[in-house]
């Protein structure tokens, strides 16, 4: 999947450089907005059909939601701090990039609406997070634990990272990983625009 996404992205970049006229930019922004709505609607459909989710949540207790909440808070504050202290970026831009939680397709496109530079940075940062997590999960599980590996994976814990987490941990951590990944994925479309608004 990642391979195809990168291929399509590169194809788009070449189209942008050589074929698409500059006058197309407004139409492109409208198309991106419509596309984002479509994706969110379909993600909502995916979440709505997880019928056993609430019973799992009830069984484990609401405290389990602290895992995604702290992972999200850590991600945003970590990116903001590094952005301000090391990269000399505005806190909200760095924080919004960190708030992608590994959902590179959404955060990349959402921040491209603000600037192509920020969108590209968000895309590369978050795709690196997803791919890096896949590689590092076994190591983090061994050294720190399954919950920490879940936090590291961010939103990918409900999708591409789930089979790896499941293989390296137990059934309980796997359910927590799914709930955590889903919670973080649902937070992305809300938190990224919110941070940009707070800063801008």
């Amino acid at each position: 999947m990642t391979k195809w996404i990168l291929l399509v992205l590169v194809l788009g970049v070449f189209m942008g450089i050589f074929l698409v006229p500059a006058s197309f930019i407004d139409t492109l922004d409208t198309l991106i907005s419509v596309g984002l709505m479509m994706v969110l609607f379909l993600v909502g459909i995916g979440v709505g059909r997880q019928k056993g989710l609430f019973s799992h949540l009830r069984r484990m207790g609401p405290r389990i939601l602290l895992v995604p909440l702290m992972a999200a808070l850590g991600s945003i504050s970590g990116a903001s701090l590094a952005g301000v202290l090391i990269l000399k970026m505005p806190w909200h831009q760095a924080g919004a990039v960190g708030a992608g939680f590994g959902w590179y397709s959404f955060v990349g496109v959402e921040l491209t609406r603000h600037s192509a530079y920020l969108g590209t940075l968000a895309f590369i940062t978050n795709i690196t997070r997803e791919m890096g997590s896949l590689v590092l999960i076994p190591l983090v599980v061994k050294m720190l634990g399954g919950l920490e590996a879940t936090g590291m994976s961010g939103a990918s814990a409900m999708s591409i990272a789930l089979p790896v987490i499941s293989k390296e941990t137990d059934a309980n951590i796997t359910i927590i990983a799914f709930i955590s990944g889903m919670t973080m994925a649902l937070m992305v479309p809300l938190v990224v625009p919110l941070i940009m608004r707070l800063g801008g």
Binding site: V8, G61, I86, G108, T128
Partner: protein, 96 residues
């Protein structure tokens, strides 16, 4: 305003699916449509990047910035979860 629209769209999708308003086979179609929409969005994002000369000339800088941001955000995420695991969830496990 954008956030409210996003919430509304997400909830609408969730409601339609949870209430069983999708036709049989609709879930598979939704999955397929999600993949197609994602690829189209990524393609359009690529076009926008390709049209921006400043971004094209800054790929090296962006790569370094991305590395700094990802290391820091992942480290803080792990730290945050570790706090919860150690001081909140362990207590819960002990009391079960």
């Amino acid at each position: 305003m954008t956030i409210l629209v996003y919430i509304a769209v997400l909830l609408t999708g969730g409601f339609i699916s949870a209430r069983g308003f999708l036709k049989p086979g609709g879930e598979k179609q939704a999955d397929r449509l999600l993949s197609v929409s994602l690829f189209l969005l990524i393609f359009m994002m690529g076009i926008k990047i390709g049209m921006d000369e400043y971004v094209l000339n800054s790929f090296r800088t962006i790569g370094i910035q991305a590395l700094v941001l990802v290391v820091s955000s992942v480290a803080f995420s792990i730290g945050g979860v570790r706090l919860v695991a150690k001081y909140v969830l362990r207590w819960e496990e002990d009391t079960q």
